[in-house]
């Protein structure tokens, strides 16, 4: 990765160059240096495997340029250049941006200067400088923990267990620097965090258990590597023979990971100013209205002190912030970047799109404009979108998980789902997903038999989950969703009458 000082120096040089161009009314230069290291665990007892299948990295340095001409305040162009942070590349990018000018009637200009973002980008993240081999060692330690646990505890009758241990340790590091005609300083930010997930499957007993962690310190990484493999294996070995409930409506305890999936694929994309402008939000016309149970508040907070992801500045150079999306069940805020914010607020159809309950003097902060690349880190070669960092649900009148399990009485606890999709489009709010593991029958207020992985599918609407849960936990647990860039801190919800379909019927 490029040092922060080098990124900052380049952004300052580029900004100085662009400031001398008399044809430009405004400009922004965004430089980033990103690295992601992944150690992928794949140990299959009866099929030849490498244990840690591969250790790989991708590194990308480069910069993006946005310009506005003096000819027309709506005439704007953009370009990006990989690898070469030099004055020659700035000239090349400028030529490309000038060649790519468009007159966009909705273009509101570049974002204003941040005024007050610490140029240093806050405290140095603990994992920003660790060796790439730390990730590989963490994966091997985890795998060895799982295998040792299996060797120690597996019953002798498991002759051909069909043991699968899969997962990964992923370390993401990002640095950015922004200079623009709208700010006097060069804004800098940096972050480093890891996610880790281990899935153990024992095919002979149809047991499956997953353990995961997300964090940002070396200590958290160490804890994860010593515990995840062992914990997942213990739970898989402790698993009783699974059951296969039939189709029906059940009282269901939905755990943090399934909630994360539903939020990530269904709810968060609907809580953006872009979705309201396009008219494809599941909450279209319901801004200011009650969309969830009044005991639920949903928050995006890139600055959360305990969040795995910590950002002080957006990719538009604005202060990263806490956005209260749902307050006591009411839709009260939207994820937004500068362009989408202005386009929605100046839209003639704004009142119809937001709904009658939206405040007349509504303002939406542009606090969520990020360039999140396909690998989940900030990247110069990605356009700005409204994105979340740490998604948090806070609850009122919450109970403990044990109390909720007792309260369920007879029902189902769903601990893991996958393939969650808006089956009839985002606006419809219908979703479907498969119950993939870590799920149990609850009988007489106690967890009893595990549910066979992949035998049940949830076919429901988001309101069936969030509008009126029978109960919820007070405590939120960290989780993440494969392939999605956010960290989640979520409770468990108890929902009555959730429709579940047998996947085999």
């Amino acid at each position: 990765m490029l040092p922060r000082a080098e990124l900052k120096r380049f952004a300052a040089q580029a900004a100085a160059m662009l400031a001398r161009d008399r044809d430009l009314a405004a400009f922004e230069v965004y430089a980033s240096s990103t690295e992601q290291i992944v150690a992928r665990i794949n140990c299959t007892g009866e099929i030849v495997s490498r244990g840690v299948e591969e250790v790989k990295s991708l590194a990308a340095d480069g910069f993006a340029l946005r310009i506005v001409t003096r000819r027309d305040p709506h005439e704007t162009g953009s370009a990006f250049v990989a690898g070469d942070l030099s004055t020659a590349s700035v000239k090349q990018a400028l030529a490309q941006a000038l060649d790519a000018l468009v007159v966009d009637p909705d273009f509101p200009g570049l974002p204003p200067g941040s005024g007050g973002i610490a140029a240093g980008g806050g405290q140095k993240p603990g994992l920003i400088g660790v060796s790439h081999l730390v990730v590989a060692r963490a994966a091997w330690t985890t795998l060895k923990g799982a295998v040792a646990e299996f060797a120690r505890r597996a019953p002798p009758h498991l002759r051909n267990p069909g043991l699968i241990i899969g997962g990964d340790f992923t370390l993401t590091r990002e640095r950015i620097a922004i200079g623009s005609s709208r700010r006097a300083d060069i804004g800098c930010d940096q972050d480093a965090y890891f996610s880790a997930s281990v899935t153990v499957i024992i095919e002979e007993t149809q047991a499956k258990a997953t353990a995961s962690a997300i964090g940002r310190s070396s200590e958290e990484l160490r804890r994860a590597q010593t515990s995840l493999g062992r914990d997942a294996m213990r739970r898989a070995l402790d698993s009783r023979p699974p059951v296969r409930p039939g189709s029906g409506r059940y009282r269901v305890l939905i755990g943090p990971q399934p909630l994360g999936e539903i939020l990530s694929y269904m709810v968060v994309p609907s809580l953006t100013s872009g979705a309201f402008y396009r008219g494809d939000s599941a909450y279209q016309g319901r801004f200011g209205s009650s969309v969830m149970d009044p005991r639920i508040s949903l928050i995006e907070d890139a600055t959360a002190p305990h969040g795995a992801i910590q950002r002080s500045m957006t990719c538009e150079g604005l202060p990263a912030r806490r956005t209260l999306l749902i307050r006591d069940g009411r839709l009260s805020g939207l994820l937004s970047n500068f362009y989408d914010r202005n386009r929605l607020l100046s839209d003639d159809a704004r009142l119809r799109k937001l709904g009658a309950s939206a405040p007349a003097a509504l303002d939406i902060a542009a606090g969520n404009g990020y360039r999140i690349g396909e690998h989940g880190a900030r990247s110069f070669d990605t356009a700005i979108h409204s994105s979340a960092s740490n998604i948090i649900i806070k609850t009122k009148d919450g109970a403990s998980l044990a109390q909720l399990i007792r309260q369920v009485g007879n029902g189902i606890m769903i601990g893991r789902v996958w393939y969650t999709y808006p089956i009839n489009g985002q606006r419809a709010g219908d979703f479907t997903c498969t119950v993939s593991g870590d799920s149990y029958l609850i009988e007489d207020g106690r967890i009893s038999a595990p549910i066979a992985p992949n035998c049940l599918r949830i076919n429901a609407h988001i309101d069936q989950v969030f509008a009126a849960p029978a109960a919820l936990t007070a405590r939120s647990t960290p989780t993440f969703v494969w392939g999605q860039p956010e960290a989640f801190y979520l409770p468990a919800l108890m929902v009555d009458g959730l429709p579940l379909a047998s996947a085999s019927q």
Partner: protein, 519 residues
């Protein structure tokens, strides 16, 4: 671009010797490969008739893989580096290659050592690697208009005019977004066994997204893609060649918008009870074959290497108990992956340097084989079949579909529908939801027509097909002669997620399944 192509020429001359030297001087290296990729792309987008963005960019990146060890323990490391225009500085290019090799080698050696320890202590873990003879090849791109020669203004005009035409269809079109790109991609593969393979591709793609709203309050969101491994001509003029023809971007977008308006006014499907006769069209079958045949036929997924992410395969429970050679579908049903077809998933050589070739997955109802890599081929005792590719060179390659499709039969689509007394004609794919091993699925359709006495009648939106994979395939009783491939722009796989382009499709099929509607 020309300058960066010079970097490819430079690496072609000097890369093999440098890689051989690195492999030889780093003990235990059994295979090393360098991929270098130069991409030039022009793109544009417009919304509601107004231009949003045009861009032109070029990129260059290196990917270095190193495998070390022997049969008792193999370690594998990979290093992807976005080098961009710094590749023009030859010392920097060679320096990046060396530093990338060093990082990949250190990772491989650590893994090799730990793998040997695991094997000693617990008796599990090892590695296989199928060697392949070295190849020298040069493969050219196919296009009438070189993507590098297209002015920014032309592609910007195409999307803006298309978006305007869609917006003018009426106030039912609440929102539309049109985007397009044309891209020139050059890939160089060098490995320590002596292969030097150069491939060039031209890719053009257009996307249309529409939100339509009826007076009655019905809303339909539709998205679809057209694309070819061709120049921009396939978007401006359309592309006539089967099995993957497409109209021009403007006609395509207008058709999609009109359909969306019609659907917004249509009622949501009220699903009938129980199983019904369903006739599925080629566009719907593209997603069906993708999810239920394609992904489960990837050997890494079948060998449970993805169990923690995307699941396993219903086609292989274990090496002893699997569907190879067994009937999984009606004798009318066949499916394959064929990278030789010049569709969206076309290539000559994969990213391990193996020539791509047709892989039969289902041969008249019998499951017959997986797409594989050199490592998985060795595990399964098969020959490598050239199915390993990354979405770009920064990522380590994975086993991927190419052009994966149900093969055509003899029946006319009209007859397939005409023979149905009562059933449903399911058209256009939308969203998939599948079980962990893809043994069952729920796939939503854009349009569902009720068939009454052989005639498609009333139109419904928000309909889905729910089926057991084997059950659905075994009940296929008619296969059309209307093979069509669809451009799939966004297949996600791996950690980190790689998004890949490919083609999927098939002819019209008739089977039995349950239907679902809006929740």
């Amino acid at each position: 671009m020309k300058e960066l192509l010079d970097a490819i020429a430079f690496l072609k001359r000097h890369g093999p010797a440098e890689l051989a030297r690195l492999a030889k001087s780093n003990a235990g290296t059994i295979n090393a490969a360098v991929r270098f990729e130069v991409v030039f792309r022009r793109s544009a987008s417009a919304e509601n008739g107004a231009p949003r963005r045009t861009s032109e960019h070029e990129s260059a990146a290196l990917g270095i893989s190193v495998a070390t060890g022997a049969a008792h323990a193999i370690g594998y490391g990979y290093s992807g580096i976005d080098i961009g225009r710094a590749a023009l500085r030859r010392a920097r290019l060679i320096g990046s290659l060396r530093s990338g090799f060093e990082a990949a080698y250190e990772r491989a050696r650590l893994c090799e050592k730990r793998s040997a320890e695991l094997r000693r202590e617990f008796g599990i873990g090892a590695g296989h690697w199928a060697a392949a003879p070295p190849l020298q090849a040069d493969k050219a791109a196919a296009y009438a208009r070189d993507p590098r020669s297209v002015p920014n203004g032309e592609i910007a005009h195409l999307v803006a005019e298309t978006s305007r035409a869609v917006a003018q269809l009426g106030r039912e079109v609440a929102f539309n977004a049109i985007s397009a790109f044309t891209e020139s991609r050059h890939e160089l593969f060098i490995d320590s066994d002596g292969s030097v393979i150069s491939q060039a591709f031209a890719v053009s793609q257009g996307d249309c997204y529409v939100v339509a709203q009826s007076d009655g309050g019905g809303v339909q969101e539709s998205h679809d893609t057209i694309g070819q491994q061709r120049g921009l001509e396939c978007l401006t003029d359309g592309w006539p060649e089967q099995p993957m023809s497409n109209p021009g971007l403007t006609d395509f977008s207008i058709d999609l918008a009109r359909e969306s308006c019609e659907l917004a006014a249509a009622p949501p499907l009220k699903p009938p009870a129980g199983e019904v006769v369903v006739v599925t069209d080629p566009h719907f079958n593209a997603l069906l074959v993708h999810e239920i045949v394609g992904h489960p036929s990837e050997a890494d997924r079948a060998l449970k290497m993805e169990a923690g992410y995307a699941g396993r395969s219903w086609l292989l429970r274990s090496l002893r108990d699997n569907e190879i050679g067994r009937r999984i579908g009606s004798p009318l049903l066949s499916a394959c992956s064929d990278p030789a077809i010049r569709a969206f998933g076309h290539y000559g050589y994969d990213h391990e340097g193996t020539p791509g070739r047709r892989v039969m997955h289902i041969d008249r109802g019998i499951f017959s084989g997986f797409m594989n890599s050199r490592a998985t081929a060795a595990i399964m005792g098969a020959e490598p079949n050239g199915s390993v590719r990354a979405s770009n060179v920064r990522f380590a390659p994975l086993i991927r579909m190419s052009n994966t499709f149900f093969m055509p039969g003899d029946s006319a689509p009209g007859d397939i529908i005409g023979e149905v007394e009562h059933g449903y004609y399911v058209c256009g794919n939308r969203i998939p939801s599948i079980a962990e091993s893809r043994e069952s699925f729920r796939i939503s359709a854009r349009r569902v027509y009720e068939i009454d006495h052989g005639q498609p009648g009333r139109l419904f939106r928000a309909g889905s097909v729910i089926g057991g994979s084997k059950h659905f395939f075994m009940h296929v009783d008619a296969v059309g002669n209307d093979l069509r491939l669809i451009a799939i722009p966004n297949c996600g796989k791996g950690q980190p997620m790689q998004v890949k382009r490919m083609s999927n499709g098939g002819p019209t099929l008739r089977s039995r399944a349950r239907l679902a509607g809006g929740e």
